[in-house]
């Protein structure tokens, strides 16, 4: 990473090769001819910080950007919800890593104190009590504070290295020499003066974009990118107290000879959701099914339909087997992988013809219980129907004037005459329950024929499970 033709940051591999901060571009390329040299882009840094801030909104609505690429969060009200400081820090760290960044965390009773701890990059820079924060701050270097840096030589000259030593200096003299800003910072860090911040306000509509670092045609890698966007969406939804019903993931393709419209993956949810695990699972199945006809260079995520977040409805005694939402989630997941036409629910139709009566519709179609019951026969026991209805009736062989299916079939019931459907696909059939020599029961029918045909034709139409 270069800033004004000087190396600013290096990767581990480059450091091992001898690249040092402050080198020139020529020097770097001499040491590592195939090094990737990037120019520092303040705009992209700001975008990245904003993305992290959006994701952090899920923990507290009070997030603000501070100087030197830091975020300040007031988590005082969120500690109990997320299970204490340790677990909250773990989640924040995991989220930042999922977004593709590394962060050093500081946690303290004052925002400025936390800022200093984080900047000092101490491992486990966490304190919750004021006395221990004072002890820790006293040991930190004065030069961590930005207002102190112009006076670095002077501080070194008088032997004032740590904040503890700085606080022992007389205040009026310090203010005359170093200005008001340093004293304000120290007072804020030690909790002697109140701190005021302008918190980030979540925008009215959500749309996030991510530029991928490479051309990608692998669904797994796309999912990693989509996860970052979903994390931001989660933060935004929590801040606005909304739940999402429909999201659209836009896959932007490289602009080749002809412009190619972005591929849109739309995920519609039966139940509005605001947590990202379920969305990630759905997107994973959808992306696995997707065949890309061109590599993807950018991702965009939009929240299309929003609902106010419903408060979680907890029952005192949880039902075994989960709630209705769990059921809906499972079905959504199945639909995402198998396709809507392969996850079916029964919707029997009031029709005499068995094929028409046995209708199955996609499970996402809303069917009211009344409509379903209205189509059911008053007494289901009265109709002898087989459990398995063959998709296409099988024409049966005739042996000795008997229908034959593996073995000669013996009729075991009275015929049931079904004659209906003159308006579409008329059927005139006599149905029998037949028993084979292996004692399995079959549902067979005889096509009623005109006078001109001599042999009755028999068909197998169902199996009694």
């Amino acid at each position: 990473m270069l800033e004004q033709e000087r190396v600013l940051a290096v990767s581990d591999a480059a450091r091992a090769a001898g690249v040092q901060p402050g080198m020139r571009r020529g020097g770097v390329l001499m040491l590592l001819p195939d090094a990737q040299v990037h120019e520092r882009s303040p705009q992209r840094e700001a975008e990245a910080l904003y993305a992290v801030a959006m994701a952090m909104l899920q923990y507290t609505p009070q997030v603000t950007e501070a100087e030197e690429a830091t975020l300040l969060m007031d988590v005082g009200a969120s500690l109990r919800l997320f299970g204490g400081v340790l677990s909250l820090c773990r989640r924040v760290r995991a989220n930042v890593r999922a977004l593709g960044f590394t962060a050093s965390l500081g946690c303290a009773p004052t925002a400025r104190g936390a800022w200093l701890l984080a900047r000092a990059r101490q491992t486990g820079g966490r304190t919750v009590k004021m006395p221990s924060l004072v002890r820790r701050l006293d040991l930190l270097e004065v030069l961590l504070a930005p207002p102190a840096r112009p006076f670095a030589a002077w501080f070194e000259g008088i032997g004032c290295i740590s904040f503890g030593e700085l606080r022992r200096l007389p205040r009026p003299g310090l203010q005359r020499r170093c200005g008001r800003a340093l004293l304000d910072l120290v007072d804020a860090a030690y909790g002697l003066s109140p701190e005021l911040y302008e918190w980030i306000a979540a925008p009215d509509t959500f749309s996030a974009r991510l530029e991928l670092f490479d051309r990608i045609d692998d669904a797994e890698l796309l999912l990693a990118g989509a996860r970052r966007l979903l994390l931001q969406l989660t933060g935004w939804l929590c801040a606005r107290q909304l739940a999402v019903e429909r999201i659209v993931l836009r896959l932007e393709h490289e602009r080749g000879r002809e412009a190619r419209a972005p591929t849109c993956v739309e995920v519609a949810l039966a139940e509005p959701a605001w947590r990202d695990e379920h969305l990630v699972r759905l997107l994973k199945e959808r992306l696995a099914k997707l065949t890309l006809d061109a590599p993807v260079i950018g991702l965009g995520l939009e929240a299309k339909q929003l609902q106010p977040m419903a408060p979680p409805n907890e029952s005192l005694f949880p039902e075994p087997g989960g709630t209705e939402e769990d059921r809906m989630r499972m079905l959504e997941l199945l639909v995402a992988r198998l396709g809507a036409d392969n996850v079916l629910q029964a919707l029997p139709m009031a029709d005499y013809r068995p094929e028409q009566a046995n209708a199955w519709v996609p499970v996402q179609q809303k069917v009211s219980e009344r409509a379903r019951n209205a189509q059911m026969p008053p007494d289901v026991m009265s109709l002898p129907r087989p459990t398995w209805l063959l998709a296409k009736p099988i024409a049966l062989l005739m042996r000795d004037h008997r229908p034959f299916y593996g073995s000669p079939l013996r009729m075991a019931s009275n015929p049931e005459r079904i004659e209906a459907g003159w308006w579409n696909g008329p059927e005139t059939r006599d149905y029998f329950i037949a028993e084979g020599q292996d004692h399995a029961l079959y549902w067979v029918y005889r096509e009623r024929i005109g006078a001109d045909e001599e042999e009755p034709r028999w068909y197998l139409h169902g199996l009694f499970g």
Partner: protein, 238 residues
């Protein structure tokens, strides 16, 4: 030795998962009554165990397997019942007559085995369904083990319907039954159960819920009469 005496006296009193080879094991899972007293008496726990893989080996689809399961399915029908890859389209009216309301039925069709196994695992892991019936001819034993593990996380009744030939292969299922049709019912072979080996098959009469008996005296004899070569067959006349 006093100690060994006491163990040989009552191993089943020491720990719930101990039993003698001559006894039926006690099931630690919740069991759903089979609705057939003769069958329940032969199963550990006195019913179909929930939360484990139960292998049903069928001679062919449509031999009365759904009638065998009807009372268990009716009992768990408060939650959804998933039919995964049935051999033929299921008929909702017939299942309604067996006691399973059509609103609780879900029929999953898959094009690939991997999809079917994935779907079965998702259904079992979610634990929000009452029963899962999964028809699959060829399953590798590691997939079976995976499904068995997934089933143990919940209380779903999980039946795998496989052909009789699959009885030769090893399976992690603690209960494996082979089903063959017989006149007026079904014959059950106990391929594997936690209990004594039973070689004689168990005959279970299955009542059809509909009456298909003749209202008139049957012309048809159970014994196939020699076919006389004249005119219309007596067997076809009712």
């Amino acid at each position: 030795m006093v100690c060994s005496d006491s163990i040989s006296a009552a191993p089943e009193s020491l720990h719930p998962s101990l039993w003698r080879a001559s006894q039926l094991a006690r099931s630690s899972n919740r069991c759903v009554d089979t609705g057939h007293a003769a069958l329940s008496a032969q199963l550990p726990g006195g019913g179909w165990p929930t939360g484990v893989l139960v292998d049903l080996l069928l001679q062919q689809p449509g031999i009365g397997e759904m009638r065998l399961l009807r009372s268990a399915l009716a009992e768990v029908a408060a939650r959804r019942i998933v039919l995964l890859q049935p051999p033929h389209p299921p008929q909702a009216l017939a299942l309604a007559a067996l006691g399973v309301p059509p609103s609780q039925l879900i029929w999953l069709r898959t094009s690939r085995t991997a999809d079917a196994l994935w779907a079965a695992e998702q259904v079992l892991r979610s634990g929000s369904c009452g029963a899962l019936l999964f028809w699959q001819n060829q399953v590798r034993s590691d997939s079976l083990r995976r499904l068995h593990l997934a089933a143990q996380g919940g209380e779903t009744l999980f039946f795998m319907m496989r052909p009789l030939a699959a009885g030769q292969d090893a399976s992690p299922a603690p209960l494996r039954l082979a089903l063959r049709p017989k006149a007026g019912g079904i014959e059950i072979d106990f391929v594997k159960r936690r209990g004594p080996q039973r070689d004689a098959p168990l005959f279970l009469p299955l009542s059809s819920n509909f009456t298909y008996t003749h209202r008139h005296a049957p012309v048809d004899r159970p014994v196939t009469a020699p076919v006389a070569a004249r005119g219309i067959q007596p067997q076809l006349v009712h």
